[in-house]
Amino acid sequence: MKVRFPLFLVLITGILGALPFLIPHSIAQNFDNEFRNSVLRIIGAFSLVLGVGSIIRHHLYKIQRQRENWEYSYILLISLIVSAIIGLFGGIDARGWLPTKIGNFSFDIQTLYSYITVPLGATMFAMLSFFMASAAYRAFRARTFEATLLLIAAFIMMLGSVPLSSYIFPKLPSFAEWILTVPNTAAKRGMGFGISLGTLATSLKIILGIERGWLGGTK
C-alpha cells in the first residue's frame, strides 16, 4: 500500500496533467481548469505547511543535538517567527492591526524585506563576481585550439556586453549578437531537443512506475 498508492496517484495525476494538452474538448479543458485552480492550489498550501514544518523540525533537532553551527539555527527560527508575525498581523505597509511603527522607526514587512533581505541577497550574489574573476583568470588559458576559440568568444562577449565596445569597435556589439543568434542558437537547439527527449522519457518512466527513485528508495 505504501508503494502502490503513491504509484497509482502519480499514474492518474500524470495522465490527467498531460491529456488536456492533447484533447481540446471543453470537458477535458474544464476539468483541467478546475483540477489546476482548486486541487493544485490546495496541494500548494499543504506544501507550505510541510516546508515550514520541516525547516522548524530540522533546526530544532540541530539545536537539540548541538550539531555544527547550531547557534545559527536560533537566528533562523527567530527570524522566521518574527517575520511571520509581522507579515501576518502587521500588514504589508503597516496597515494591519499589529503596530509596526514606533515614532519614525518602522519595521513592517516591506521595510524588513527592503533593508534586510535585499542587501543580504545582493551581497551573496555580488561575491560571485569575485570568484568568477578569479576563476576566469585561472581557467581561460589558450592551451588547445578549442580553448583558444572559447577564449576569443569570451573576449568578444565580454567586450560586446558593455557599451564601451561600440565606441572602440562599432561592429563588435552586432558581432556579439550574431554569436548569440547563430552559433549559440544552433548549439542550444540541439541541446534542447536532447534535454526534452530525456525529460519526456524520464517523465514516462516515473508515470508508469519504472523509475521509483522519488519514493525515497523503498522497494
Binding site: 504589508i92 550574489f125 563576481s129 556586453s161 542550444k188
Partner: protein
C-alpha cells in the same frame, strides 16, 4: 643571458600565471567601486531584441495591457530591477495599463518597490487626476500565487479567478482596470523578468497554449538560453543583463522623454571597468603561460 637573469625572468612569467587571488579580488573591488563613485557616461546603443520589446510595448492598443511578471529575487536585483523600473516608466509614460504579478515569493517586495518608486515619480509631476498614475485604473498588482502552473495557465482562462484578491487585499474584479482585462486575450505582452527558468515556463505553457506574446528580461549569464526562442518568435523581445536594462532606459529617455535615475546606465561604467580588468588578468595569465611553454620547448 646569465642563469640568474634567466631564473629571474622565469619567476616573473610564473608569477604572471599565479597572481594571488587577493590581488585579483582587491583590484576588482577597486575597479567596481571607483566608477560607481566617479562614473563615466557611456551611451548604450539599443540592440535589436531590446528595440523589438520596446516597440511592441509602445504600440500596445488601448484595450490591452502589459503584464510584468516580477520573477527575480534580491540576489539579482542589481541586474534585473532596473528592467522593471524602465518597463513601468515606459508603460506609464505611454498610458498603457499594467498588471504585475510574481511567480517568485521573494519578488513581491521588489515589485512593490518598483511600483511605488515609478508611480511616485509620475505622481510628483502630475497636475491633475488625468495626469496621475492611479492604482486600479492604470495598474494593478495581483500579487503572488502558487504553484507556478496555476497563474501561468489560469490567466489564460480568467485572471480574476486566479487572483481573487490583489496584493493589497482588494477584490480584483472590482478594480476599474480589471473590467476590461479578463485573460490573456486582453494581454498585449507578458514580460517575465527572472534570473531563473520562469520565462521558459511562460513560453512552454502560456505562449504555446494561449498564444500570448512573451517578453523576457534575464541576467546576462542566462541570456544565451533565450536566443533560440527569440529566433523562433516565441519570445517577442528581450533585455539581457544590465546592458539590456541600460539600453531600455536609453530608449525610454530618448523616445518618451521620461527622466529619472537610470540605475543600469549608471552601473555600466562599473561593469565596463570590471570586464576590462578581468580581460587584463586573462591576458597577463596567457602571456606568462606562453612564455613558460616556449622556454620549456
Amino acid at each position: 643571458m646569465t642563469n640568474n637573469e634567466g631564473n629571474l625572468h622565469s619567476s616573473i612569467w610564473e608569477k604572471m600565471t599565479k597572481i594571488d587571488r587577493r590581488v585579483i579580488y582587491s583590484l576588482l573591488l577597486l575597479v567596481v567601486v571607483i566608477p560607481l563613485i566617479f562614473p563615466f557616461k557611456l551611451r548604450p546603443k539599443p540592440m535589436p531584441p531590446v528595440e523589438k520589446l520596446f516597440n511592441h510595448i509602445d504600440t500596445i492598443p488601448e484595450d490591452k495591457c502589459l503584464v510584468i511578471s516580477v520573477d527575480y529575487t534580491p540576489d539579482t536585483e542589481a541586474e534585473l530591477h532596473p528592467m522593471t523600473i524602465a518597463l513601468l516608466r515606459h508603460a506609464f509614460a505611454r498610458r498603457k495599463k499594467v498588471g504585475v504579478l510574481c511567480i517568485s515569493l521573494l519578488g513581491l517586495g521588489l515589485a512593490q518597490d518598483a511600483l511605488t518608486t515609478v508611480s511616485n515619480e509620475f505622481n510628483s509631476r502630475a497636475s491633475n487626476n488625468t495626469d496621475s498614475i492611479i492604482y486600479g485604473r492604470d495598474y494593478v498588482f495581483w500579487g503572488w500565487q502558487q504553484p507556478p502552473l496555476v497563474p501561468i495557465l489560469g490567466m489564460g482562462e480568467n485572471i480574476s479567478k486566479v487572483f481573487p484578491v490583489d496584493y493589497y487585499g482588494n477584490k480584483t474584479d472590482t478594480l476599474p482596470m480589471m473590467k476590461k482585462i479578463k485573460n490573456y486575450n486582453d494581454v498585449a505582452i507578458l514580460v517575465s523578468i527572472a534570473g531563473s527558468a520562469v520565462p521558459f515556463w511562460y513560453i512552454t505553457y502560456a505562449q504555446t497554449s494561449f498564444g500570448v506574446r512573451i517578453g523576457a528580461g534575464s541576467t546576462a549569464v542566462q541570456a544565451a538560453d533565450f536566443y533560440p526562442y527569440l529566433n523562433s518568435g516565441q519570445v517577442t523581445g528581450m533585455m539581457s543583463g544590465m546592458k539590456g536594462a541600460a539600453e531600455y532606459e536609453q530608449l525610454v529617455e530618448e523616445r518618451c522623454n521620461v527622466f529619472g535615475r537610470r540605475k543600469a546606465t549608471d552601473a555600466m561604467s562599473s561593469q565596463t571597468a570590471a570586464h576590462i580588468w578581468i580581460m587584463i588578468t586573462i591576458i597577463i595569465g596567457n602571456i606568462g603561460y606562453f612564455v613558460i611553454r616556449r622556454r620549456k620547448k
